[in-house]
């Protein structure tokens, strides 16, 4: 069975009901955000907005970087996920727009405006910060969209050649236009990864580290970008599990495929935990006041200490022990729950990185405001995901590695 002609035409047709539900979520988010900002306690709304911005942008970029890494190493196994990852990346232009809204909350969010730190004034000032972060996000968005464009273009070129020629063998001649698109994707992939590294580091330094007037950590940028990649992988795993019923089961995703995804999630769970520990141990051991104030506030003082432990369990301890077992990795529902837990944990982790630097009130900032604004972001991301996916072939048919993967599967299944 040739993957091309059938898969090329397959689209993900979600129901209109889902679109409506997502739109309602977006609306709810917008309304509650505006109400919060104009209300008594604007900091709460802005804080929730920032946390969501960091989480969802990081997740989208991370998922896209997954594809870039697959392209760079020439891996075949992850190909069916390519479209889903690109669908996550489709949120990036929206994220770029949402970034500028932070400008209106700058007085609430950036303590260094009201209390400037003279040593850092040349770096931490409003025009420069927004210029560099906005510029970085723009660069990342442009590279990402270009890569997605070539991926989709390749598929349409391939499908067109299938429709035109009499013998639809789908062979790759070196002059085939879709191979040119593929080569462009391969060139853009390392550029995307490098841009991701530096831009997310910058965002981490500016939007997380700078919120505390005295704290600094060389690893924070790295921690943020690896954590975002972890969230991206968990999100892709979740989508693959949820979509398992929509796709014909044995076509593209076998048992081994899910096992590999589980192993990758375990690897990044360990990596994220390792980076967290690297920061924590160094700061704990050195006991230097400039560094420890940030950590002590989060892990030893109320109200944040319980949240810190919850986050540790959700993103590291529970996934680690669960993902060690081979059998559990093959069970659908436990894995879906695990991925949801990881994603929730990563959201709470952003909260605990950001909120204690800003929040000085008694009430714990986790309630309806946060849930509704998160729902808004979820709706926005979901709408981008669905809109993109409904316009493009579900499987990356022009991708030569995808077709190699299909051929290998067929060879293995034949006696």
């Amino acid at each position: 069975m040739l993957p091309g002609s059938v898969a090329g035409k397959r689209r993900f047709k979600g129901s209109h009901l889902t679109n409506l539900a997502l739109a309602i979520l977006v609306l709810t988010g917008v309304v509650s955000f505006v109400a919060g900002v104009l209300g008594k306690n604007p900091l709460r709304a802005w804080q929730a907005y920032l946390v969501n911005f960091l989480f969802w942008t990081g997740l989208s970029c991370g998922a896209l970087v997954f594809v870039a890494v697959l392209n760079i190493v020439g891996a075949r196994w992850g190909r069916p996920l390519k479209r889903f990852a690109e669908a996550f990346g489709a949120f990036l232009p929206v994220a770029f727009v949402l970034f500028w809204i932070l400008y209106f909350g700058r007085m609430e969010l950036f303590p260094w405006i009201k209390q400037p730190v003279p040593d850092r004034a040349v770096w931490l000032n409003v025009p420069f910060l927004f210029a560099r972060d906005g510029g970085g996000l723009l660069l990342l968005t442009v590279i990402a969209l270009t890569m997605i464009f070539f991926s989709v273009k390749g598929d349409s070129e391939w499908s067109a050649s299938q429709a035109n020629s009499r013998d639809a063998t789908g062979e790759d001649k070196s002059s085939s236009p879709w191979l040119a698109s593929w080569r462009k994707q391969k060139t853009l992939s390392p550029i995307l990864v490098i841009a991701y590294t530096f831009v997310l580091t910058l965002i981490g330094f500016d939007l997380i580290m700078a919120l505390d007037a005295h704290w600094y950590s060389t690893l924070l940028g790295g921690y943020f970008l690896v954590g975002s990649f972890y969230a991206g992988v968990a999100a892709l795993y979740l989508i693959a599990l949820v979509m398992q019923r929509t796709l014909r089961p044995n076509d593209y995703q076998g048992e081994r495929h899910f096992h590999d995804l589980g192993k990758l999630t375990l690897a990044f769970c360990l990596f994220t935990g390792y980076l967290f520990y690297a920061q924590f141990l160094t700061i704990w051991y050195g006991n230097l006041p400039a560094e420890t104030r940030y950590v002590i506030l989060r892990v030893k003082l109320t109200p944040w200490e319980p949240l810190a432990w919850v986050v540790l369990f959700m993103i590291f301890l529970i996934p680690f022990f669960v993902l060690l077992s081979r059998r559990i990795k093959l069970k659908r529902v436990p894995m879906i729950l695990l991925c949801l837990m990881i994603l929730t944990g990563m959201w709470l982790e952003k909260l605990i990185l950001v909120a204690p630097s800003l929040w000085r009130q008694n009430e714990f900032p986790l309630g309806f405001t946060e849930i509704l604004i998160t729902a808004g972001y979820f709706g926005a991301s979901g709408l981008c995901f669905k809109c993109f996916l409904s316009r493009v072939p579900l499987m990356p048919v022009s991708d030569p590695l995808f077709r190699e993967m299909i051929e290998l599967r067929q060879q293995r299944l034949e006696p």
Binding site: Y277, F280, L281, W284, Y285, N287
Partner: protein, 170 residues
Amino acid sequence: MAHREGLLGLFTYVDDFLFALRGLTSGARKIETVFSPLYIPEIDEILAKRPSRARLITLLGGIGGGLGLLGLAIYAHLSFSLITSGKPVLPWVPWVIVCFEGTILGGVLASVAAWIFLGRLPRRATASGYDPVFSQDRFGVLVACSRSEQEEIRKLLKESGAGEVRNVAW
């Protein structure tokens, strides 16, 4: 050791070899040993082996190693409490590393012991029926059988494509 006798079939091609193995197992023949120069997972499948106990042994070794080294650290710090830079007497933060290294060490030692001893190694001589070509490029299967069964098994092996069939006693 009990005095046994049987036939040893030597194969050049792996598909012939696996075919012969399937024939022998479906005919409920007593396969004594299977020789091969490299690890072939299909052999384990055909012989219906349970997953190796090396996994469990490694896990237990790892847990033992981790807890053991951690226990040593706790005992050492309690018996000689050296307070440095205001750190607590039993600091769990750096001891994540101690526990981790102990787990890896215990796991590695257990794993190596597992494959050596579960494989009934070390042994002074090679297994009965062993031929040096088995470490080069030939596959072999040693079937224990009585004189009466020999003709039938010899025929099965030859038809599967055995290059040579020998009588072996051990």
